[in-house]
């Protein structure tokens, strides 16, 4: 169903999509760097890595991300959700600066600004622009995006 404006709950889902990826990736990185080098000749070593604590935590966070990401994909475009995921990198940089008092270079601040502008641009537009999947959605889309987006046959069917 096409949505131009998202509900508070949907914004919460997008927020979790944003923060779970950098946290999960950081956990995976911490876990993998503690392991001895894994070569292509011994791929089974990657399977055993899954059961170490940091990698298990990373996987749990990424499973949470996956569930919320799938839910978001059912009511928003992929190109709408992608910038929300990138916003997680901004949150990590801001936390590092204001909470951990890490030095952030001007280049990183520039990166933070560009991502924020990108997210703001996408967030200002419609969340869903794909053709509606069924009749009810088609009519909703007509109200949302203007009558041109609803096939004439559907409108006639409704009137008939």
């Amino acid at each position: 169903m096409p949505h131009h404006r998202l509900s508070f709950r949907q914004y919460l889902i997008l927020a979790f999509v944003s923060v779970s990826v950098p946290l999960g990736d950081s956990s995976l990185a911490r876990g993998m760097t503690k392991l001895p080098a894994v070569s292509l000749g011994h791929p089974l070593a990657l399977i055993s890595a899954v059961f170490t604590p940091w990698i298990a935590l990373g996987i749990a966070l990424l499973i949470g991300y996956f569930a919320s990401y799938l839910t978001a994909l059912s009511w928003a475009d992929l190109t709408f959700i992608m910038p929300a995921t990138a916003l997680g990198n901004v949150l990590v940089a801001l936390l590092a600066h204001f909470w951990l008092h890490e030095e952030i270079s001007w280049m990183r601040w520039l990166g933070v600004s560009l991502i924020t502008i990108g997210v703001a641009l996408v967030a200002h537009g419609p969340a869903n622009t794909t053709p509606p999947a069924n009749f009810g959605d088609a009519l909703a889309a007509g109200r949302q995006f203007g009558d041109d987006s609803v096939p004439r046959s559907l409108k006639m069917e409704r009137l008939g």
Binding site: M32, L73, S74, D77, L110, V112
Partner: protein
């Protein structure tokens, strides 16, 4: 290593986005058929299962890359490149209306992620 993450990840995400779009609002399915019905609707979709296979390949490619390279290099490089390939794929295969605003946002976020890593 980064290219394999980007290709498998993009293929997986587009397949999954296609699957979720074809089944409709997951929140509404959950309200109608319960959590079990929503999970069943997702896992019985062939497109979704195809997406899972490619996402699993992307995950193990990421683990392999992290074992040889720093997260500060692999993460942003894969994320920024995947953004561009996903935008192209979403326009071509998912028929999303990628207008000038979304292209601008994709490019800004892509450059931003790159700067953030340096």
């Amino acid at each position: 290593m980064v290219a394999s993450i980007v290709i498998t990840s993009s293929t997986g995400e587009v397949l999954m986005a296609g699957a979720m779009k074809s089944m409709g609002d997951l929140d509404e399915i959950r309200e109608r058929s319960g959590l079990g019905g929503a999970i069943k609707a997702v896992v019985t979709s062939p497109l979704f299962m195809g997406g899972i296979v490619f996402m699993a390949l992307a995950f193990f490619s990421l683990l392999f890359a992290l074992n040889h390279m720093d997260l500060s290099l692999v993460g942003p490089a894969a994320a920024s490149l995947t953004l561009v390939t996903n935008t192209i794929a979403a326009k071509l295969f998912l028929k999303e209306r990628v207008d000038r605003r979304r292209w601008t946002a994709a490019v800004l976020v892509c450059i931003g992620v790159y700067f953030l890593a340096h």
